[in-house]
Symmetry: C2
Subunit: 362 residues, 2 copies
């Protein structure tokens, strides 16, 4: 067993051991977890990320319902400990189905929400991430293209891959757990995280990664944990500035937010997944005016989302207030691909260089 697996396994077993200690002390077994609701979320000004506050919920065996929850937790801990010992992994859905094979009917999950929630509890209480439990997501699937040389530790041995020279036009497929990757070297000057596949393909076709030494990360809409994790690691370990290139609408600002600040649902992971230094490159509402982009009118739900962003501490900066208010004034939004109205090369010859220059990145 690797040292990482060993450590994760020990932290899980420590959780179960607490129940034994509680029995010995004559206490009713229990487990405390931070309350995961909106009013127990605090914005950590120093780290620029969301974290949980002090409120806690307690799962206690003082009721049949509570006892059953702890029983399920113990069975799950045993499953995860075995999985780590065997260096295997599984999906959240497999865990749910697998519980049907457990000898104790009371320990089986009623639905997948229950098993998903328990994994989140264990993640928070043990301080071990889901990836380190070897729980895989159902889908990940984002890609990376650019001057990066890496070594991925796979079950079939190590693979050394250069993310331009050793991959096809589709790029390098980010694995479910990017902590299996070691960065061997890079000629990149910055990271460009791109929302849509169409724009990602445009940048690769135009050779933007080669000309500007950019690492192009495809976000694929709301980015998967693996995509956010590798972005953060590239930033922290290789000291690369991170820029986010998305559509010019409130939903895309949330995509930027999830890269930069994390989300309420995974506030316990902000320090693992979020890159607070990430900057928004565009499409900005100011770009819609400046570059005379084709637009669509804002819908009611767009307007609501923008107004709720104005109330969101993550967006309470001079920059975002100015942009969001401008957008509410012009009542328009533009997609990143609308830059094609000035020709297929406008984005790589004009728009991105101008924005990167204005942001002090090139």
């Amino acid at each position: 067993m690797s040292a990482d697996n060993e450590q994760a396994r020990e932290q899980l077993i420590d959780l179960a051991a607490q129940f034994y200690d509680q029995f010995e002390l004559g206490e009713i077994p229990h487990m405390s977890v931070p309350t995961r609701t909106k009013n127990n979320i605090e914005y950590d000004e120093d780290k620029d990320v969301w974290v949980y506050g002090d409120r806690e919920s307690t799962r206690s065996a003082n009721s049949v319902r509570g006892a059953r929850k702890l029983l399920k937790a113990v069975y799950t801990i045993e499953f995860l400990a075995d999985q780590l010992e065997e260096d295997r992994s599984s999906t959240l859905r497999e865990l749910y189905y697998l519980s049907e094979s457990w000898d104790n009917k009371e320990a089986q999950f009623n639905d997948q929400d229950e098993s998903n929630g328990l994994i989140e509890d264990l993640e928070i209480v043990s301080g071990v991430t889901r990836e380190d439990f070897h729980m895989r997501p159902e889908e990940s699937g984002a890609t990376l293209m650019g001057p990066l040389h890496l070594r991925e530790q796979t079950r079939r041995g190590e693979r050394e891959i250069h993310c331009q020279e050793d991959v096809g036009e589709g790029g390098y497929q980010i694995p479910n757990n990017p902590d299996t990757i070691e960065f061997l070297g890079t000629d990149a000057d910055f990271i460009l995280a791109v929302e849509t596949g169409g724009m990602r393909d445009r940048l690769v076709e135009n050779g933007f990664d080669e000309e500007y030494n950019a690492l192009i990360v495809h976000l694929k809409g709301q980015p998967a944990r693996a995509t956010r994790r590798i972005t953060k690691r590239l930033h922290d370990e290789l000291d690369l500035p991170v820029t986010v290139f998305a559509d010019g609408d409130p939903w895309s600002y949330r995509i930027y937010g999830s890269v930069a600040y994390g989300s309420i649902k995974s506030a316990h992971l902000s320090e693992y997944l979020a890159t607070p230094e990430a900057k928004y490159i565009g499409i900005q509402p100011a770009d819609i005016v400046e570059y005379d982009l084709p637009t669509d009118p804002l819908s009611d739900s767009d307007i609501n989302a923008l107004e709720s962003e104005l109330e969101d501490p993550r967006f309470q900066t001079e920059y975002w207030e100015e942009q969001i208010e401008l957008q509410l004034e012009i009542e328009k939004k533009s997609e990143q691909q609308s830059l094609a109205s000035h020709g297929l090369d406008f984005v790589t010859d004009t728009y991105l260089p101008e924005r990167l220059d204005a942001m002090g990145i090139i």
Copy 2:
């Protein structure tokens, strides 16, 4: 310009040349396309695929509306011909936005449905596929893992890739146009096309591709054109049997149908995309009973979809009628990951080997 680009370009220009010929003959310029509706779809018994019937619609310049359509077609043909000459490519959305830069306002598209529809028209009339026009989809993103050695022609030169030895756990990312790939050799015995990411990852983790010499193609739900195209080419060129592994519900049978027979919307492409020899491995309704899988009840829309499949000529075989009727009788469906209820190795140690043996593939 490559020979392929040259040929596609000529076929497009021939279309525009027809209008000149019509002018010379004193005819009103016009273009005929097969009617793309359900009642002009015929099942080609010999080829086992859907094709268009004899009904045609005519776009004629005898009205302002018709003349505008032909104008847009001519501008689009010019754009595509230039694109091929420069060996570039673009997305359908970029084409829509790009039309805003055209000098003639009348030639600009009103919305993306219009430009998408025109590209389909041109595909059908010219007999050139969208991929050969170099029009890319917005997203593709499926992957391949298994004993296949290939050469991909990229804009940055050729890349030789072995889809087990030269890739990470994420596998080889299929490019938007898989006709840029040349197969150099394979040790594979068959193709296993898998619906969900969770199951794809399970098979790769368990080393199923290595133990059974399988090429694992991730379908990602309803498969993209690129995924169907590479599956067909692997079948035709390497003589590999194709099996489809999906959830046991009517929506997944449609995924199988789109791999095997094509769809009404792209009937003009059936011979390019469909693999009529593809076989359904499961989850079959019979498996739900035989392997005692965890189930969910059929919803009303599931029942409607099953009943409509019974009416669908593609599913009018003894096999499918038996399975669909069994499912309507037991009123249950199961996901492929429900096999985990018998343990994480059941799918690779027991289920797939038994099914492949019963199908005569191993």
